[in-house]
């Protein structure tokens, strides 16, 4: 059998297209080991629940969805579990290069690295590729692939309207990391203890590195603050009590971190684990990734004008959109916030250019 499509895709990921010749699958003589269990994600069950509950307070659900529905905890789990998969090329790193090692082992029937036999069954087979993929995909990519996610179609060049032709979701790929990028992300996720390369960089310290430690410590602190303030576990508190715990002074820096990751999980591409089904984007009326369709669909030579998406045009407001303005509380906030800025003005007669009145 030939793993043409899969191989090609993975080889491209490593920037090594064509580096390995395509050869038939062969089996190696097996040592008959038991299949190993898949590697676990970073957050354990209790920690995951805490993250889920705390992020639900940061970006709450009411009549509209929030962090809970968007799966923000899954985003955070995916980020903290970056690079935990089988090290199939024994280079000390986990990433798309490991796919290459597995493919090479399948193709040639040999490998310099025992871990290329990902499922530990004593053979280099497609099952190893599947295992590597499952194992890797407990983590999310540092950099998703591209260029298109498949959420939008190609334009029909004849009609200049959306076609039924959708690209595949390349955001599910892992874009390659080079050596120094791997070092940076290793530092971010797991700290610099084993990275002398970063010892001359004062920025590779503190809250910029070792997210796993910050989460372990921060989640422990949430629990202990709950006990201190209410004598109960965080999970047993009412939403208002949970908010009070998160607003307590000792949690200030961890909640800052958690809030940044919460909004990343709300509004990043769903392939990173959060923003489930684009729920965060829908909530705020945000288009998300629009390629390959985009908002300008082409130039019509007959009418000598650009054709735009009718529901979300590029050069004018949405159909039916009004000169509605901001909500009163936000206007009040802006007056306080902006009033101290240079050249601040609230204009007497605001108007909405191009919006039918």
């Amino acid at each position: 059998m030939r793993l043409v499509l899969t191989r090609r895709r993975f080889l491209q990921l490593a920037g090594a297209a064509g580096a390995v010749s395509i050869v038939p699958l062969v089996r190696r003589a097996g040592a008959g080991l038991e299949p190993g269990p898949p590697l676990a994600p970073f957050l354990n069950e209790a920690q995951y629940s805490l993250v889920r509950d705390a992020t639900a307070r940061i970006f709450p659900s009411d009549s509209t969805p929030g962090a809970l529905e968007a799966g923000v905890a899954d985003y955070i789990q995916g980020m903290l579990s970056l690079l935990p998969a089988a090290d199939a090329n024994c280079d000390g790193w986990r990433g798309s290069a490991d796919f290459i090692a597995v493919i090479r082992a399948i193709g040639t029937g040999t490998s310099d690295c025992d871990q290329s036999d990902v499922n530990r069954d004593g053979q280099y087979t497609e099952a190893d590729l599947t295992s590597a993929r499952v194992s890797l995909f407990q983590a999310r990519a540092v950099f998703a692939g591209g260029p298109f996610s498949g959420r939008q179609p190609f334009v029909d060049p004849e009609t200049l309207q959306p076609s039924d032709n959708f690209p595949r979701d390349a955001f599910l790929d892992f874009a390659p990391l080079n050596r120094v990028q791997r070092i940076a992300w290793e530092a971010r996720i797991r700290g610099t203890a084993n990275l002398p390369e970063l010892s001359g960089n004062p920025l590779a310290t503190g809250s910029r590195v070792n997210l796993r430690q910050q989460y372990s410590d921060g989640l422990t602190l949430i629990e202990s603050q709950s006990q201190t303030i209410f004598g109960k576990s965080f999970a047993e508190l009412t939403p208002a009590q949970q908010t009070q715990v998160l607003n307590s002074a000792p949690l200030r820096s961890f909640v800052n971190l958690l809030r940044a990751h919460t909004v990343e999980g709300m509004f990043s591409a769903p392939e990173y684990g959060g923003n489930r089904d684009g729920i965060g984007w829908s909530l705020i009326g945000y288009g998300g990734d629009s390629q390959p369709l985009g908002y300008t669909l082409g130039f019509d030579e007959k009418t000598q004008s650009y054709v735009e998406r009718s529901d979300r045009p590029n050069s004018r407001p949405n159909p039916g959109e009004t000169c509605g303005g901001l909500s009163t509380p936000v206007q009040t906030l802006l007056r306080v916030l902006l009033g101290m800025q240079p050249e601040f003005q609230e204009f007497d007669e605001p108007y909405c250019f191009g919006v039918p009145s």
Binding site: A170, I284, S327, F347
Partner: protein
């Protein structure tokens, strides 16, 4: 010839191992030089520190390359995809040379990827004016004196550069207009029209253009290397929205990688080695003999060549000159000017918050602007006779990023009112005052050159390669600070005329995040007052050239990239001819 390359880390013809020219850096200048040199039948090696995200950039098949970029805010904005990561390569910064530099993750860092910084720009490409090439004389003649500023005339004129501007526009695929609505009355004479008509303009641009018109100014179509039609084998832009700061998902952005570098690679006379960080130039007397670099396996390698071009950006170019002469004054530094006269633009940002939604996630980030505040006469041949300050071109923009917006709501002055968590944050995201209701004017004011604004090596901070990082010393001059002050109320007036409810000026005048970096290897005719000559060659060396914005004697008030490309084309033509 065997393309595409099958060797990891290498694009182009892998059998090449003896190079006529070695180029350090694959940004717009390096791409332009590679194109011209390969056209002249020279063999070229391009060394790039960053990764490659163009699959098949060296594959002759139509439709290539496949970019790994996408409209992905997390990857491209929050996680440094193709950009300089501060954990890998920090810099240090100080305003005052008497204090140590402080480690800073973003002192105008540029791209770390094949294609360089222009991959992530929204590729706005105005030309400089005629008067920009003789700014010292023009200021002198007008009796305008600025103590401490170090203005100089360029060793070439606008007229000499004009043909190269035209070629740069043709190669990059620039859309714009020279006639009718949106034409720039302050632009200097051109030998021909833009290669393409204007792209579809975005709503926020049209809103601010209306304000500009009502205030008595002249809104323009911003020239950009963005395909408004299919051009040179690349498709038209679809206004996908995440443009400034993003690689282009469909190659309609005419960044150097998909235009000039691809052409160079397909000749079979060009090789790109990426993930290769150059640590020094090896030299003897007036000759550079080789380049040392560290590859992705951490191996230290040396490659030789007949001629060498520094095109790694002004800060990195100057750093390499110092790294190449440990204990000495710096390679090519008999003038003492290497690293000096570093210039950014001073950005003044006027913000409007509007009742209607701007939908900033649509459109190419900036499609319009105005030049009335550059401070020159129509035609760009003289300073404004009314004596108004020299500001810069203004971009009409919006905010396209939702994650960035949400993080802004975490700023303490906002959380102190809205709370740091809960429905306050959610209401702000639903209302979206700082993204969907926001439109901005960004002025790129000219930054006066100063001897004390400079790059040298930091004595204590090293990067992931163990190499001393660049230390940037830069303080703004009254020249640009006064221009900013003068134009601020006028910018807010335009915002008001455009219909905004609120208008103000961002109190932080930005200079470290402008991505416009110039100077450090100033060009000139006098070897004691400049580092490079008019052809971009180092005065002190027979075979070392500079191919990027480091050679600019002054910064002008326009986005620098088209001028970088034009100069690099001209320089390479002189080498190849």
């Amino acid at each position: 010839m065997s393309l595409p390359s099958a060797v990891p880390g290498v694009l182009g013809e892998t059998s090449l191992d003896d190079f006529d020219v070695v180029i350090i850096g694959s940004g717009p200048g390096g791409c332009a030089a590679a194109h011209i040199l390969t056209q002249a039948n020279l063999s070229v090696l391009v060394l790039e520190a960053g990764n490659n995200y163009f699959l098949g950039l060296d594959d002759p098949a139509p439709g290539k390359p496949t970019p790994l970029f996408g409209s992905d805010e997390l990857k491209q904005s929050a996680r440094f995809f193709g950009k300089q990561d501060p954990l890998i390569e920090p810099r240090t910064y100080r305003e005052n040379a008497a204090v140590p530099g402080l480690a800073n993750g973003d002192v105008n860092t540029l791209g770390r990827t094949v294609g360089g910084a222009w991959i992530h720009a929204d590729v706005k490409v105005p030309r400089f004016n005629e008067v920009d090439f003789r700014m010292a004389s023009a200021l002198h003649d007008a009796g305008r004196v600025y103590d401490g500023a170090n203005f100089a005339d360029w060793p070439l004129t606008y007229a000499e550069l004009e043909p190269w501007y035209s070629m740069a526009e043709q190669l990059s695929g620039v859309s714009g207009t020279t006639t009718g609505e949106g034409a720039d009355p302050f632009a200097s004479p051109r030998s021909g029209p833009y290669p393409m008509p204007p792209n579809n303009r975005m709503y926020a641009d049209l809103v601010l253009s209306e304000g500009s018109r009502l205030a008595g100014y002249h809104p323009i179509v911003y020239p950009a290397a963005v395909n408004s039609r299919p051009y040179d084998g690349r498709p038209a832009c679809v206004s996908c929205g995440l443009c400034s700061g993003y690689g282009c998902p469909n190659n309609s952005k005419g960044s150097g990688a998909v235009t000039m570098l691809r052409k160079a690679l397909l000749t079979g006379r060009c090789q790109v080695r990426y993930n290769c960080f150059v640590t020094r130039l090896v030299h003897s007397g007036r000759t550079v003999t080789g380049v040392e670099y560290i590859d992705d396996r951490s191996d230290r390698l040396t490659v030789g060549g007949d001629r060498f071009i520094l095109a790694a950006s002004p800060i990195e170019d100057a750093r390499l000159c110092f790294l190449s002469d440990p204990g000495g004054a710096g390679l090519g530094n008999s003038s003492g000017l290497v690293g000096r006269n570093l210039m950014f633009h001073l950005q003044t940002i006027a913000v409007g918050i509007f009742k209607q939604r701007m939908h900033g996630e649509r459109g190419q980030s900036v499609t319009g602007g105005m030049v009335d505040f550059r401070g020159v006469e129509p035609g760009g041949m003289a300073l404004a006779k009314d004596g108004r300050p020299l500001g810069g071109i203004i971009e009409f923009g919006t905010n396209s990023e939702a994650i960035d917006e949400a993080k802004q709501y975490g700023r303490q002055e906002i959380t102190s009112i809205a709370g740091q968590l809960g429905l306050g944050l959610k209401q702000l995201m639903l209302d979206s005052p700082l993204r969907d209701h926001l439109a901005v004017m960004i002025m790129q004011a000219e930054d006066a050159p100063q001897l004390g604004n400079r790059v040298d090596l930091d004595p204590s901070v090293t990067d992931v390669y163990g190499v001393p990082v660049p230390r940037v010393t830069h303080v703004s001059h009254a020249f640009e600070l006064q221009a900013s002050q003068y134009y601020q109320p006028r910018m807010v007036e335009v915002i008001g005329k455009a219909g905004a409810q609120f208008g103000f000026v961002n109190p932080d005048l930005d200079k470290l995040g402008t991505r416009h970096v110039m100077g450090t290897l100033r060009m000139g005719t006098d070897p004691s007052a400049s580092v490079c000559n008019a052809a971009g060659k180092f005065h002190d060396l027979d075979n070392l050239y500079c191919g990027d914005g480091a050679v600019f004697p002054t910064a002008s008030g326009y986005n620098p990239t088209l001028t970088i490309i034009a100069l690099a084309l001209r320089m390479a033509d002189a080498i190849g001819g």
